[in-house]
């Protein structure tokens, strides 16, 4: 496949993995990784990307078995290897960087010791303070000589991840497998870690297999991108090509679903739901959700075909489809500022953390307004206070100082002390869809509750409205009879939105409502929220850390750092020419697609 005749450091051929109960998880996967190459393995939940990546280390989760095919790392097979030989390969030929660095370090071991363990595992008797020091220097943690004596809990998230990278590099393996290494980190930290990884590749020539669901991140890192869907590779090619000229409808849809703050446009989600293990349809797995599907797509499984040298795609119609020049939905028309008095006016808000730590408060002296029908975004990293502000407005957190005025009148801190009308007109949707609905009640009951409590409807009236509300969030009415455990994340989030809409609010607070969802589902939910806002003339307070989402959804933006307001203004202005240093840093660090995409 490659033009240059260097031996690939990883060679996977026709790999298939299945559950012990028989359902296939990964099928027919073949690819190569050349020395010094960064390969991005991209997919959503259920795509099989993590399972594939772990198999490169010869590891499968309990209940999962490798069924067939070959996986060769450094010329040696990792399948059907006995424990000892496998251990020899791991860490020395192929190493591993985990997703959650906090949980991946032994809490009772100093980090110097952890690095030493990996060294000793491959070179008996090796491991001196010097070698540990140089390992830490490689990831730019060598400045403090006492650093190796620290315990994991004494490190920040970014430092912990650097330590796991140091462990993965200490024996100079030719390739490392990284499993979503920056997913749990702040954007600024993520940016630094990515730069670190690029430097390791440039200086030490280490190849990487970078597993992620975030195309924007991998666009900055990878030389080559492999897109997986339902356990199979659907597209495989040079990074720039795959992103700027995707040949597979799924890749194209993924690219379209990523909000980009430099080119704000309305988002378009992918209809339908991701295919899970055991649900693989006959024929092309993506066909049921594909805009370009035809009958033959459902009948037979398409094979991987080469479009241009080095670029493969699994689609029956790749030759006919020209995915690049499609009609793109137009960006939001920025509306003129309404002349009406503000619906929500927050002034001098101050709030503390529950544990009453003296030190800086969660929110300090924040003031802003939300006009009727406008969407205001609160942007910041974790610890910026944006969620706390949302909770104060919703009545879930009593502020220490300041006023919150709704429709001209000041409101009490706790929801219980607010009049019914205020409680009804302000509604909130939470971040975690798996915890927003009472698992013991049917979906219907969760929606009926606000109808009865806040709008004082009778039981019969309330039941009637449930169906309408579900349809408004594009769910079939019969979903009302289900329990939350039977619904997917995206569906649950829509139900949570329906529950909020049931009260007929004027202000909807969205607290990171899409952060826990797959990219394609995210776009669909955001699309829905935008529609609802237009139809119902809702005001929205949109809390997020994603600047791209802000650009696509909001009219005004507030940038928060550690509880303080750094900058505020119309979205277009702030993103194009930020005046505060923190905003500039956020914009610089935010991963985004190359200019050629979309």
């Amino acid at each position: 496949m490659s033009a240059v005749q260097t031996a690939p450091v990883i060679r996977v051929d026709d790999l298939s993995i299945r559950l012990q109960t028989g359902e296939p998880v990964v099928a027919g996967v073949s690819f190569e990784v050349l020395p010094g190459e960064i390969v991005g393995l991209v997919g959503e939940s259920g795509s099989g990307k993590t399972t594939t990546a772990l198999s490169l280390l010869g590891y499968t989760r309990p209940g999962v078995v490798i069924d067939g095919g070959t996986v060769e790392v450094g010329g040696e097979s990792v399948i059907d290897r006995d424990g000892r030989a496998l251990r020899g390969l791991r860490g020395k030929t192929v190493s591993y960087v985990p997703q959650d660095p906090g949980g991946a370090l032994n809490p009772s071991m100093r980090i110097g010791g952890a690095i030493m363990d990996v060294l000793r595992a491959h070179r008996a008797g090796a491991g001196s303070d010097e070698s540990i020091r140089s390992a830490l220097e490689r990831v730019e943690l060598g400045s403090d000589p006492r650093f190796a004596h620290r315990y994991p809990h004494q490190l920040s998230g970014g430092q912990q991840q650097r330590v796991t990278i140091a462990m993965a590099c200490v024996c100079d393996p030719p390739v490392a497998v990284l499993d979503e290494p920056t997913t749990g980190l702040d954007v600024l930290t993520q940016d630094r870690i990515l730069a670190e990884l690029r430097r390791l590749r440039d200086e030490d020539g280490m190849a990487m297999v970078y597993v992620t669901h975030d195309l924007a991140v991998v666009a900055q890192m990878a030389d080559r991108i492999i897109v997986m869907y339902a356990g199979r590779i659907v597209e495989n090619g040079p990074a720039a090509e795959v992103i700027e000229r995707p040949r597979h409808p799924y890749t194209r849809a993924l690219v379209e679903a990523i909000p980009d703050f430099r080119h704000p446009r309305a988002l378009r989600g992918i209809g339908g739901v991701s295919v899970g293990v055991g649900d693989w349809p006959d024929g092309c797995a993506f066909a049921p959700r594909c805009q370009h599907q035809q009958l033959r797509c459902h009948e037979a499984l398409p094979v991987l075909e080469e479009t241009v040298p080095g670029h493969h795609v699994r689609c029956m119609r790749w030759m006919e489809l020209d995915l690049h020049d499609r009609d793109l939905p137009v960006g939001r028309a920025s509306r003129a500022a309404a002349a009406a008095p503000p619906l929500l006016a927050v002034s001098g808000l101050e709030a503390r953390y529950r544990s009453n730590r003296s030190g800086h408060p969660a929110v300090a002296a924040v003031s802003f307004t939300v006009e009727p029908g406008r969407c205001v975004a609160l942007v910041g990293e974790s610890g910026s206070g944006k969620t706390t502000i949302g909770r104060c407005i919703a009545g879930l957190h009593v502020p220490a100082a300041g006023t919150i005025a709704f429709d001209g009148a000041a409101v009490a801190g706790h929801a219980r002390q607010r009049p019914l009308e205020v409680r009804r007109r302000i509604q909130i949707v939470f971040q975690n869809p798996f915890e927003s609905l009472n698992p013991r009640q049917r979906v219907r009951s969760s929606i009926v509750r606000p109808l009865r409590i806040l709008r004082r409807l009778s039981r019969a009236e309330a039941e009637r409205e449930v169906g309408e509300l579900l349809e408004r969030v594009q769910l079939p009415a019969r979903l009302g009879d289900r329990f939350p455990v039977e619904l997917s994340g995206g569906e649950r989030q829509r139900v949570a939105i329906a529950r909020a809409l049931a009260a007929q609010p004027d202000l909807l607070i969205c607290d990171e409502v899409t952060s826990a969802l797959d990219v394609s589902v995210q776009a669909a939910v955001l699309e829905l929220l935008q529609e609802l806002q237009r139809e119902l003339h809702l005001s929205m307070l949109f809390i997020t850390h994603n600047l791209g989402v802000v650009a696509c959804v909001a009219d005004t933006v507030l940038v928060l750092d550690q509880g303080r307001l750094c900058e505020t203004g119309a979205v277009g202005d702030v993103l194009a020419s930020p005046s505060h240093d923190y905003t500039r840093r956020l914009l610089a660090a935010a991963p985004c697609l190359p200019d050629g995409a979309v």
């Binding site: 390969l89 791991r90 990996v118 595992a121 315990y151 004494q154 630094r192």
Partner: protein, 336 residues
């Protein structure tokens, strides 16, 4: 792009270990204080004149008056409480009420010092076996999941935990004495003698004690070990090639020990409770037998002081366990 080191400042105040110890000791003293009040109230404030209850059928008004005076029951409750606590702090545990009723003055300490020693020996032997066995049997199962040894341990702990000491004891007597005649059914120790003089007497009581406490300990250590073996850091170490023996020892066991220590401390406490019953089953002259006798005869002074003594032992064991856990878990050594 240089990394920004963000060290957490370790403040130069009281070392957290000492502060932690200090807090715990204070807490322990407070708990003992409350316990003493509870004990005193339960025994002295509840309705009924202790004197008449002790005398029972011999309760003539005259005898009652004499006993009331000897037991200082005519003094107000708060004074009696203060006297008792003060005496306790000086190792003066009072005078046995029953002996007072009989016209003698046997000090409680004199009465229980022998049995106390006997109980301590029994408890020490049982603990000596229980701790290593609990840990050993507990960690083996998750290391070899699904194998026969895992199943056997699991079944054993399930069965044994369900049986109270008196059932286990009686069954053991049934097997080893009635059926096999290998071991004596009672563990009598002549006054002044030591239980170690006749070790075969100790076998069944120790076994009985072990049964119940082992089972609980093994189950919890197992659960802790299973949980630790599924953590991300164990997996990461394995995926980076660290040897299995090292992983089991330093990554799994070491982190499973901390919760295990707490469990074992709880079990030692259970041991103390089990001793009371076990001594009764085997007629072993220990502090449990003394306590039961005292309860039966309503000897409030003895019950009072013995109960307090046992509470002190409880609290001390808890304290030691907390200290060991702190040494094992570095995170706890930080200021909160």
């Amino acid at each position: 792009m240089t990394a920004v080191a963000e060290p957490r400042a370790v403040r130069r105040e009281t070392p957290p270990v000492l502060a932690f110890l200090g807090r715990r000791i204070l807490g322990g003293i407070l708990a003992l204080f409350v316990a003493s009040i509870v004990i005193f109230v339960a025994l002295n404030i509840l309705p009924g004149n202790p004197a008449s209850v002790i005398l029972g059928r011999n309760a003539t008004p005259a005898a009652e008056r004499v006993l009331t005076q000897r037991m200082h029951l005519d003094r107000p409750a708060t004074t009696r409480y203060a006297d008792w606590l003060g005496g306790f702090a000086h190792a003066d545990l009072g005078i046995s009420a029953v002996s007072l009723a009989q016209g003698q003055r046997t000090s409680v300490w004199q009465q229980i010092s022998g049995p106390l020693k006997n109980s301590a020996i029994l408890a020490a032997i049982a603990a000596l076996f229980m701790i290593p066995l609990s840990i050993g049997l507990g960690v083996i199962g998750p290391i070899f999941p699904g194998k026969p040894v895992d199943h056997m341990i699991s079944i054993f702990s399930l069965a044994a935990i369900a049986l109270p000491e008196f059932v286990t004891g009686s069954l053991l007597i049934g097997i080893f004495f009635v059926a096999l005649d290998w071991l004596p059914p009672v563990a009598l120790v002549p006054p002044g003698g030591s239980p170690l003089d006749n070790p075969s007497e100790l076998v069944l009581p120790v076994l009985t004690l072990l049964f119940a406490s082992l089972a609980a300990g093994v189950r919890m250590v197992r659960a802790g070990m299973t949980e630790v073996l599924q953590t991300e850091y164990v997996q990461t170490a394995r995926l980076n090639g660290v040897g299995e023996r090292r992983v089991l020892w330093r990554y799994a066991l070491r982190n499973a020990l901390a919760p295990s220590v707490q469990v074992l401390a709880q079990n030692l406490q259970w041991l103390i409770g089990g001793i009371i019953i076990t001594e009764n089953v085997f007629a072993y002259p220990g502090i449990g037998t003394e306590l039961v006798n005292a309860v039966q005869t309503r000897d409030v002074t003895v019950v009072q002081s013995v109960a307090m003594l046992i509470a002190v032992v409880y609290v001390v064991i808890n304290l030691l366990a907390d200290l060991v856990v702190m040494l094992l878990v570095p995170k706890l050594r930080e200021p909160a």
